[in-house]
Amino acid sequence: MSAIRHQPALYKIVVSHYLVAALFFLTLTIMFMFSINEIAGHYFQPRILALTHTAALGWGTLIIFGALYQLLPVILETPLYSLRLCWASFVLLMPGILMLICAFWFFDPGLMMQVAGVLVLSGILLFNLNVLLTLKNKQQTTIFQEFIVTSCMWLALTAVLGLLLVFNFRFSFLPQDHLAFLRLHAHMGIAGWFLMLIVGVSGKLIPMFLVSKYQQIALLSYAYYLINAALLLFLIDGYFYGINFKTNLILLVGVAGICTYLFYVYRCFVSRIRKDVDLAMVQTLFSFVLLAASIGVLPFIFHYHLKQNPLATNLSVIYGILIFIGWISALILGQTFKTLPFIVWVKHYEHLTGKVKTPMPADLNSNFLLTIQCMAFLLFLITFISGFVFSSLMMKYVGASCLVITALCYCLHISHLLLHKTSIQHYDQI
């Protein structure tokens, strides 16, 4: 049985990832607040690059690594290969990401950015090695495993291309212009790493958390092939021809894959056996609405790009915000408070269950902080995007402030969970 069980060494590495990722999220929101003017302009500028990498690496990737160290044994039904590799990867990634963000923010494309790139790539490769060695002795291959392995492969390729781009700043050796490669780098990361991984992991966890009767994982297989086919076509076609009319057709293939996955989530939702859906799951499900919204923006970006209309650049920023701060953040904001309470609960109560009355994992959450976090996040989306559409600086600042409040609630909530004190009742005293 591959269950969540308390292992002090595993707990430390998982919690370290959650804590550092939470601090990166808080940093991201503060950086966002100080970059309102830059966000209105072109996406290829130092502060936007710093923001994107804080969101993608410091926030998204670090927390996914932490969660995966805990969940891989559950999802892949086999024990994790090595905790030492987890620490080695973490120790390389932390300074690497910090240096990369600083190098982008102050735009220093020299040694600092190059060392940062090497550290990040090394950390990612060690993570991949750990996942592959975890899978080495596994007999049966499942679709969840396919998603995870493929996403790891895309992550490594994204990091390799990212490193090449870093060196290209200084040595300018890539055969095409930097922006063309940046587009490929970004979509390898978004669709290859985040989307593949999120579909694979949530494909297993959503039915588990919703306690769903739906078992048709064939839909996930269709999603796997369609999304990967679209991404490969986008990379090949994008490399040779840039954005052109065919890009819309490729997008359709990808959208078909995502719709197949969203249909799977919908079927899981309607066939759940528990009627009540908690706030953390509501936020998780809401993240898929944001994913759909971000994809809805893409045809407009292609349309305006082909007409060489500057709106394409503005829409690209909206697309980036919907992806990184919308979809990925909403998903993490929700799933953190589904997974972390279990991890903390197992540490405090697993050895006591049955002997005394213990709280349930969900009781460890603070509903107050979770509600404020959700409200602030929703307000951020409404006010910031409205501010962007109506060019209202004030609304953008209100939105950015709401995002900072979201991050503060998130960090406080993480601390609240990690500082939890064991609280029990003896049955003979009830």
Binding site: R272, I273, F342
Partner: protein
């Protein structure tokens, strides 16, 4: 429905066992494991002073499986301290949604019918 195999001289123990196991709550569903239909059978041997529980989990790789199994052990050790406890996980028959008792269904979705959603 739990199948009990209990010596006649220990009549009433089935109720105590069932009520005791109802204090073990599934951490995600917040419903007790008896009403979820996870307990298949309980055999009590007075000669060996043994309570043997045959149970299952909602999924073979239930992330909280070990917690639930250890809770069953601890619960029965607490209530029947003169007995040894043995918990055996079985996967045949596989647990399904029909295994949930009417009380469990009511707790999960507010009505005791099988497929309200």
């Amino acid at each position: 429905m739990i199948k009990f195999d209990i010596p006649a001289c220990l009549s009433g123990m089935d109720v105590a066992l069932e009520n005791g196991l109802k204090t073990v709550i599934d951490p995600e569903l917040h419903v007790n494991i008896v009403d979820l239909g996870l307990i298949y059978g309980i055999t009590v041997s007075q000669k060996e002073l043994l309570i043997a529980v045959e149970m299952t989990l909602s999924t073979r790789f239930c992330p909280m499986g070990e917690s639930i199994v250890s809770a069953v052990n601890h619960c029965l050790e607490r209530l029947f301290d003169q007995f040894h406890i043995s918990v055996n996980l079985v996967w045949d028959p596989e647990w399904n949604f029909e295994s949930i008792t009417p009380a469990g269904r009511k707790a999960l979705w507010g009505t005791s019918t099988l497929d309200p959603i």
